[in-house]
Structure formats: C-alpha cells, structure tokens
Amino acid sequence: MAANDLTKRPALGQRSASLRRRHLLAALFKACCVGLTAAAVAVLGLLIYQVAADGLPWLDMQFLTNFPSRFAEKAGVKSALFGTLWIVTLTALISLPVGVLAAIYLEDYAPPSRLTRVIEINIANLAGVPSIVYGILGLAIFVRFMGLERSVLAGALTMSLLILPVIIISAKEAIRAVPASIRLAAFAVGATHWQVVRAHVLPAALPGILTGVILALSRAIGETAPLIMIGALTYVAFVPAGPMDEFTALPIQIFNWVSRPQQEFHELAAAGIIVLLVVLLSMNALAVLIRYQGTRK
C-alpha cells in the first residue's frame, strides 16, 4: 500500500467526508419525521383553537335549551341534541346484541368452513364501505321498502348496519383474548357450550367488548352523510317523542349552519361542534376508563 493512500484516510476518531454526509442525512431525515409528526399534532391544536375561539362566546344554557331558529341569537341545539341521544340509544340497543352474538359465533362456534371465511372477509370489507353507501341502503330498505319514513328508527337501523362491522371486529378481538384454559376448564367439568360462553367467556371479554362498542357508537354520533341520505331534516323545532318521529342530529345541525354564508351561523356551528366534541370525548374517556379497569384485573 502506498503511503499517500493512508494520508487520505481520516485519523482515528475522525469521520470521513462520506460518513459525515451519511450521518447528516440521517439527522435531517430524523428531523423531518419529528417535524412532520409535530405538524400533525399541531393541526389538532389549531383545529381546537379555531373551534373554541369561534364557538365559546355562543355557548350558554340558552344554546342548549333553544330550538334552531332563523335568528342566530335565538338559535340552539335542543332538538339536535335530543335527536342524537335518541339515535345513539337505539343504535346501541340494536347493534350491541347483534354484533356481540355474531362475534361469539365467529370466535366460539363457527366451523372452519368456507362460509365462515366468506363471512370474515365480508366483515373486513364492509368496514371500508363509504358511509354514504349505507345511507343509500337505509334509504332503499328502511325508509322506502319498510315504510319507516324519515324516522329515528330508520336512522338508528342505518347507523347499526354502519357500525356492526366495527363492533364485530373489536368484540372478536376481546373474545379471542380470553385464555383457552378458562374455556377448557369449564368444558371439563361438564358445562354446555352456551354455559361456557355465558358464565366464562363473556364476563372475561366484557371490558374489551364495551370499549369497542363505545368507540363504534362515538363514530355513529359523528356520522352525517348516512342520515342526510335517509332524509333526516335539517330544520326540526321539536324533540322526538318516539322512535317513529322525525328528527335531526348534532352533525346535521352543524352541517346546516356551516353551509350558510353568514359569519354568525359559522360561529353557531363552532358552538355546536364544541357540544359534539364534548359528547365524543366523554365517550372516549369512558372507553379508556373501562379498558383501564379491565386490564387491572
């Protein structure tokens, strides 16, 4: 080896130019990733700031207890809030039993057959169908074919179909997490299949199931498009008294206000968004709490 080759090499402890470049590139890349993640997080802050700055001045008891109005000062979300409560309660009553029973079947009963595989793949794909397509389905089946008109029940049935895949997938995960030893022990002492499920699998999986159901319901609360498709009204000045009444819901009311050109209605929309987000965040908090209680055991 010629001596001048050696002189080109950096001394011990020093980095060559190319190595320095490579490390610089790595540092830049890391900074990029960190920066873009920080930007994504900052967007959430920006969004919350924008909503709060616009909406907080409008948020008072009158806003919660008044019906919508042509006059921004008198307008409120009472009918929308009650409509959302109706929808979410009925949706829970319909989708919770159906979703959990379907998950029990798929995890505990289903034979490893072709039909089972078709059902599983179908559920995975249904979860990705745009919500507006469920609206079309609700319009054709519940509103027109079954003659439920623009009722709370038609809305709740549509929402139930929309969130069923989500509920089934999360309930399946919760059921799968129950150790096989618990099932086998129950079978070993002579329990029937249903006894095993009811007394051992379901109680153990309950926190996970509930967490999934609450998160799915919070998705249903924010969905607008399917309700618009089935013809939920944008102006409702009464509280639904039963499942066959017409209704409006928080996101629809917000949509209605945002789509008006006047600035004060945009601010009203922001106030409505605050109410919607408070409902959503408290449901999420509940889900986290249940998950926490569940894991502690």
Binding site: R22, A26, L28, F29, K30, C32, C33, L36, T37, A39, A40, V41, V43, Q50, V51, D54, P97, G99, L101, A102, Y105, Y109, I119, N122, A124, N125, L126, G128, V129, P130, I132, V133, G135, I136, L137, L139, I141, P165, I168, T192, H193, W194, G222, E223, T224, A225, M229, G231, T234, P251, I254, F255, V258, H266, A269, A270, I273, L276, L277, L280
Partner: protein
C-alpha cells in the same frame, strides 16, 4: 363410550347456535342487499340513459335542463380530492409512522398515538367547518384566483382526516418487521436513515401499500368535508382552485333537495353510488388481500 355421549339433544343450545349464526349472517345479507339494490336501480337507470353517455359524457347536469348524464366531471372532481389528499396524507402519514416506530421513545409514543386517535375520531363535518373557516381563507391569502368553494381546501382537510389512518397502519407494518433485520443493518454500520429507507421500509412495503390503498379509498368515499368545502359545480377541470363536485357531494345534493322518488334524477343517485361502491370495494379487497399476504410473511 355410550355412557359419555350426550344423553339427549339440548334444544336450547341448538336454537342459540342458530341465533348466533343468523347474527353473523346479517353482515353477508347487508352486502348482498347493497349489491342487489345498486344493481337493480342502476339497471333501470341504464334503460333511460345510454351506458356510453354515462361513462364518457363530459357534462353532468341531471337536475337542470338541458339534462346531461356524463359522470366524468364527478369522477374528475373525486380524483382531484384523491390526488390532493394523498399528497398530504401519504408522505406525512408515513413520516409519522417512521417516527413512531423507529425514533420515538416509549413515552412520546404514548403521547402521540392518542393524539392521532383523537384526530381520527373527529367527525368529518368538523373538518368541513375547518376547511371553510380556516383553510380556504388561508389559501385566498396565498393565491389570487381562489374560488370560495375549491378542491384544494377540501383536499387538504381530507388529507388531514385520513393521515391518522395512514400513520397507524404504516406504524403497524413497520413494527412487524423483525428487530433482527434492523440490528443486522446497524451492526454493519448503516445510519438510521439507511436502516429505515433500505431495510425496514422495503420489508414493510406491502403493508405500507395496503395502508395507502385504504387511505385513497377513504378519500374517495369522504362526503361531508367535500360537500361543504369543494362546492356543487360538476366541473371537468384539473385546477384545484376551482369549485368542483365529487360523486359523494352530488349524492348529498340530491338528498337535500326534494327529488321525487322513482324519477330519473332519483335513479342517478344509485348509478353514482354504484360507481362509488365498485371503486372503493375493489380497492378494499386489494388492500385486505395484500395485508393478509404480508401478515403471513412474518407471523
């Protein structure tokens, strides 16, 4: 052995099993019903409008005279949203995922992940409001000829909306790459960039691809933000600063008006929905297939 066999049929067990099976079957019935309804109504739509006019016509004017039923403007509008939102969501989402899986400490993971989950849980109508009251005014300060309703504003918020999904799915894909691959690369002197770009990302490529496909499919089906921010003007244009209409926004427009059921305008709803459903279903099937394949590699 006979003593151990069930002494009688437990009818309660049998009935419960059938009930559970029926509940699981509802999902399949849902799919069949969706396809059935869309097929029947679309077929009756094509009794009145030529297939070629629908797919190749360049004007969409089903509610006004003279009527025209070419879906290309709606498809172009949807594509503008898809391209724009992908430009936002795919690179940033992947960068978030790389940060979360390759760089973040356990602690910052526990902070960033829930924030992304909150972003993912914000209703789309809220993003519509954000587009109109924040993004559009911002764009109008930068560019001169921005219309009040424009594709760019809607595309940006749709990008923000699907970003958490991209980040979370890509994160899953990157984290399922075995640590030994990373350690091997580091041990021969690779920098963190080289490990990520040449080892981890290529190994997770199918998962990342599936995440991108699902994100595009979400953007195609997105409704409220594009209805509010992108406008209601079917417009065959490539200029993102103009007002456009997407397939989903058209469907909302028809439902908000009082279109008599059974008429041709009503049937356009199903024809457009068929196109929307076919595209998104094809993309979801592709993504799920890729994802299953990719899970098999390292499981």
């Amino acid at each position: 052995m006979t003593a151990l066999a069930a002494s009688r049929t437990r009818w309660g067990e049998v009935i419960l099993r059938q009930l559970f099976f029926f509940c699981a079957l509802i999902s399949v019935l849902t799919t069949i019903t969706v396809i059935g309804i869309l097929a029947v109504e679309t077929f009756s739509f094509f009794q009145e409008v030529a297939v070629t006019e629908f797919f190749f016509g360049t004007e969409w004017r089903p509610l006004l005279e003279p009527k025209a039923y070419g879906i290309l403007p709606l498809l172009a509008g949807t594509m503008l949203i898809v391209v724009g939102s992908s430009l936002v969501a795919l690179p940033i989402g992947l960068a978030c995922a790389v940060y979360l899986s390759e760089y973040a400490s356990q602690r910052s993971r526990h902070i960033v992940k829930p924030i992304l989950e909150i972003l993912a849980g914000i209703p789309t109508v809220v993003y519509g409001y954000f587009a109109l009251t924040f993004v559009t005014p911002g764009l109008r300060q930068v560019f001169d000829d921005v219309q009040i309703f424009n594709a760019a504003s809607a595309a940006i918020v749709v990008g923000i909306m699907v970003l958490p999904m991209v980040a979370s799915l890509c994160d899953d894909a990157l984290r399922s790459v075995p640590g030994s691959l990373r350690e091997g690369a580091y041990s021969v002197g690779a920098t963190s960039f080289e490990v990520t770009a040449r080892v981890v990302v290529p190994a997770a490529l199918s998962g990342i691809f599936a995440a991108f496909v699902l994100a595009v499919s979400r953007a195609i089906g997105e409704t409220m933000a594009v209805t509010l921010a992108a406008g209601a003007t079917p417009n065959l244009t490539l200029n993102p600063l103009e007002s456009i209409q997407t397939m989903t926004a058209y469907m909302v427009q028809v439902s908000l008006g009082d279109t008599p059921s059974g008429g041709l305008a009503y049937k356009t709803l199903f024809a457009v929905a068929s196109v929307l459903f076919t595209i998104t279903l094809a993309m979801n099937l592709l993504a799920n297939k890729v994802m299953r394949k990719f899970q098999e590699v390292y499981d």
